[in-house]
Symmetry: C2
Subunit: 659 residues, 2 copies
């Protein structure tokens, strides 16, 4: 066992010899970015080994306290950085006492959470009802059992004709609780499967019955604490998904589970369960309750997070033909999942549609309910995958596009999550080719702040869309995404870098990472691939349904709420609609979870429509490849501004794409 | 920590200073009799502190290695024994290294189990059905989820229209199991509550589906391993109830739980759960299966054992008005009880009738089904309490008599459980007043074996009934139970002892405990109280039902199987019926558990009749006391033999009792 100290956090502790530094960080609560799931392909987990630190304390040099340099590290760490002690923390192993510095760009966490509860009209018809009863204590002439006495009271005072079951753990404590309460108790009855069950008995009259709706995103866990009888959102809270240290995206986590067959899935499950227990304690205590007051939880996530939450080994989900373990919803006792809620609490897991279309998409589906509408709707939920639902009450289809994580900022040279320091809005002057931008955490634009105080760190998803659209509008890149020839000779910001042509968005002295933040030709290509997949997916779906046009486009998800609708149209992310008919609805997946919590008929709807929506596997569609190639192009424009204005007023970009 | 060695078993280990010797025994696996639950009232836990033993090994004397003599011990240990080092092990505490000798009469365990499965006609209609399916693996064009694929297979191949739920833990392993099995699996579906659930998925075709029926007696746990599809009993097994070390009777265990509020109930629950896990492993392995193959268990017990099994604090059951936590049956996941069966296995707990009439009596009820008969039946289930059911299809009532444990051999000076060395049959020559007897474990009668080889240790329940009846028939005691005056002057075996008059059944040299085994006047009184309670209870019930006579008397329980019907009539244990109409049915409670396992309609019957049977609380019946006083007498007889013969041919003893 060796001592490892992480700077600048100062976290320290003992780890076993041979532990990768990244793992040591996890063990000691230091979150280092690990986008690729330790496949040594992302290079995000760079750390600096602080040699000599121990020497100050009379301890030998740390130089040989870490495993040997490996060739794979050369891909991400240049000679100069290597000289400064930089290593890939997934690759370098602890072989002695160490001090490790985690540079700002390698630190995970600190994310801005943009998943507030949206104000939606929800019917109140929960699966939990709470009844107050005052019972007559038993006597020698009336020695009826406690449970039967309770059942009789429920019948006499509330007309409950059907005898509810009682949860075993509630039964165990019943004799004591009911006597301490002097036979005056509140009885919570769950009826989520047509066979009512007593799930909590509380002394006296309870004021509120609590439920929790949870949306587990790949990066963010959002929770809504609701009063089950009024529907009121009592509190909201969120945290970074505690599985992030095991891989930033879904495939990385599946890879992690598969490459750690002994306990990988258990670690992923434990992480999210512990996270939900933490958030449950926090969200209830803030409003004067405890996690033991939570009577039911509903939860949505993508299929991989679904499997990890349930502790189902996700190997088969990650390999063709990508069959999930199940599609249907599940009712599971909270205790079976080690969730520390009320004794008999239930967890309702929303159904999955298909291997790539999870319960979160079903949440969006029941929140937007296109199956109750006449309009031809496209709902886009952009996460690491783009998930599409199209149709109306006549017919509904769905598909999933492998957009890659580019739209979330991953696989982009300076891409990052929506966290302080991330560029989120950009404007490029078409004459001077000079940019202005806004970073998360600052109110002002970059040109209104002294350079040294901007603190730019990278670009988040909405910033990347803006950047590509602005580069195109400013004539810096053409419709194929190439940099227009000769510009690098005229403008300093346009130059040739390691990855080919690049445009400097922020000079090193505007940043906190002391490097120029650039958009590279590779970044442009990644976004083209992503938006091309979305666009082509939507086109194929329109063909399937025989649609000539759409009536509206709904952007769901945090990403959808922040991207610029005009810029999305500029780069051609989705088929043309009048701009007023393209709008964001925020965290519709979370709203779906909340609706399922408060209205049990929504659960039946979820199961019904999760199965009725026809899933289109795009990769087996013969026309997909051609559509995809075409959709990769940026829309052609006759003149940079005039025509765009026309387009945005309704003529549409759609024809132009094909032109 | 001190070392304690128990002889003659040789068990040894370290225990903490201040641990009572009885507890030290438990901790080291040495079972010492503790009938009173450590209330220092039974004196059965005597042990001998072996002083000087350590001296042989150069260790100081053990004399001061045990806590000081306490006055309460004088009640059970005379001066001579005290001098030999005898102590009450519940009272003496470890204060240094010790060697403890446990005399044979203080040793628990080694009991003869008399709970074989009776051959009864049982309908086969289990709540578990197993289906074999061969599925088509998923493809990119047919990526249906594993669970839905299984459901589709069950529908296509077996016509199961209703979609079964799936147990969460079964779902977790489904993707791996189904692929390892190459999509050919056996699916066990439980349908015990009208809402089917997949509880096990096994690769390939399974030959048998296993269920376990368990009867937890106060002293014995009996288990029957059944094939759920054929009804066949594959194996039976039994063990001493592992709760015996915490108190031999029900009230002692309730007292134990109440006097150890921090963990008493948990220890009692853990003991029985661990016991059942042990028996489940043994009973399955012996026939080539494992405990993980058990798909369902049904279980019966008295109300106190019911509460202890479920971990329900039994305080309220032990205090007036004796209301149980519940009457109804329960379905509980085996894992919620820490029972290690198949992943999704269910435990069906049979319903209780009343605070003193438990699921075991309901087992008897559904096994004998008096509610389907025209004859006026009395069913007597003699355990620590006597439980009575009376009636027919028109009306059924039940009651419970506080017989005390005398009929099971407790509170009888030389009473013991039915174990080797226990006298079980007795004949007393009315002329010479000399006895012959049979002990458990020997084929021959006592007068056919050399005295030194008989190995008598005490008297079990059936022996006690015999002894009282024979003492009465031989004219040694009169109808009031008193010893006839002057006999002690004529016969050596009749003498005055510490507890008053006594009759020597076995001289010290016929025994393995080197003491005369006697029946005392106090013992006779205990049996009179017990049989009086039974008889009076039955009379009150007859009055309630307006019965002049009974058509049959059924003796249920191990005790009932071994007592002599004639002798029972002699002492007047139950109202008179023709002797052919009084018969024993063996362990009917266990048979009821087995019937509920194999035929789910029996479960509905159990719940229905447990509630329909009217429970008569005898202690609040105004006539009970008078009946009881009368019934204490032994039946008066004009002449000792002639008239008895007549009686046994049908005239009946009933009238005589009142004479």
């Amino acid at each position: 066992m060796y001592t490892v100290i992480f700077q600048p956090s100062g976290s320290r502790g003992k780890v076993e010899e041979g532990t990768p530094v990244l793992q040591a960080g996890r063990d000691l609560g230091v979150e280092i970015e690990a986008i690729c799931g330790e496949k040594r392909t992302c290079g995000k987990c760079k750390v600096r080994v602080e040699e000599g630190f121990f020497e100050r304390y009379g301890i030998e040099s740390a130089a040989d306290h870490v495993s040997k340099w490996r060739p794979v590290e050369e891909k991400f760490i240049n000679e100069k950085r290597r000289g400064e002690g930089y290593r890939l923390s997934c690759t370098a192993k602890v072989e002695g006492d160490l001090v490790i510095f985690v540079p700002e760009e390698s630190r995970a966490g600190g994310q801005v959470v943009r998943k507030a509860a949206t104000d939606r009209k929800i019917e109140i018809n929960p699966s939990i009802n709470t009844y107050y009863v005052e019972l007559v204590p038993p006597t020698l002439h009336d020695p009826l059992g406690d449970y039967e006495r309770l059942v009789a009271g429920l019948k006499d005072e509330h007309g409950l004709e059907e005898r509810p079951r009682i949860d075993y753990h509630v039964l165990r404590t019943l004799p004591d609780v009911i006597r301490e309460a002097q036979w005056k108790v509140s009885v919570a009855i769950w009826d989520g499967d047509g066979f009512p069950e007593i799930v909590k008995v509380t002394p006296g009259k309870v004021e509120r019955s609590l439920g929790l709706a949870v949306d587990v995103g790949t990066t963010t866990v959002a929770a809504y604490l609701c009063d089950l009888h009024t529907g009121e959102v009592l509190n909201t809270d969120s945290m970074m998904n505690p599985q992030v240290p095991y891989g930033e995206d879904v495939m990385s986590r599946i890879t992690y589970a598969m490459s750690h067959p002994e306990d990988g899935i258990k670690k992923l499950q434990d992480a999210i369960i512990e996270g939900i227990n933490t958030i449950a304690a926090r969200i209830t205590e803030a409003v004067g309750f405890t996690h033991r007051d939570i009577l039911e939880m509903t939860i949505v996530f993508n299929t991989a997070m679904h499997h990890c939450f349930l502790g189902i080994y996700p190997e088969h989900l990650g390999l063709a033909p990508y069959a999930p373990a199940l599609h249907h919803s599940m009712n599971i006792k909270a205790r079976d999942l080690k969730l520390d809620f009320a004794l008999g609490a239930n967890v309702f897991v929303l159904p999955n549609e298909a291997g790539f279309v999870g319960a979160d998409n079903v949440g969006v589906l029941i929140a937007e309910a296109p199956y109750n509408q006449d309009e031809k709707v496209l709902i886009i939920d952009i996460g690491t995958n783009g998930e599409l639902i199209m149709g109306n009450r006549k017919e509904l289809i769905s598909s999933s596009c492998a957009t890659g994580p580019a739209l979330e900022g991953a696989h982009i040279k300076y891409g990052m999550r929506a966290a302080p320091g991330a560029i989120e809005k950009i404007y490029i002057n078409p004459e001077t080719k000079e940019p202005r931008y806004k970073v998360i955490g600052k109110e002002e634009w970059s040109d209104q702040i002294p350079q040294g105080e901007i603190g730019t760190k990278g670009i988040c998803g909405s910033g990347i869309i803006d950047a590509i659209a602005e580069l195109f509008k400013a004539g810096i890149i053409d419709k194929t995404g190439k940099f227009v020839k000769g510009m690098d000779e005229q403008y300093e910001r346009i130059r040739r870098g390691d990855d080919g042509m690049e445009y400097v968005l922020a000079w090193a002295d505007e940043t906190s990472i002391h490097q120029d933040v650039v958009i590279t030709i590779k970044d442009v290509r990644s976004v083209q691939l992503a938006k091309g997949a979305l666009y082509a997916g939507a086109k194929i779906m329109m063909q399937k349904l025989g649609y000539e046009s759409l009536d509206k486009v709904i952007l769901a998800g945090a990403f959808g709420s922040f991207i610029d609708r005009e810029e999305s149209l500029v780069i051609g992310m989705f088929p043309d609609v009048p701009i007023a008919q393209a709008y964001a609805v925020g965290n519709a997946a979370g709203d779906g979870a909340r609706m399922a919590l408060l209205d049990k008929t929504k659960r039946a709807e979820a199961d019904e429509w999760a199965r009725k929506v026809e899933y289109i596997e795009l990769s087996v569609e013969p026309k997909f490849e051609k559509e995809f190639m075409m959709a990769m192009h940026l829309p052609h424009m006759k003149d940079k501004f005039g025509h765009l204005a026309e387009v945005l007023e309704g003529e549409g970009l759609d024809g132009l794409v094909k032109a």
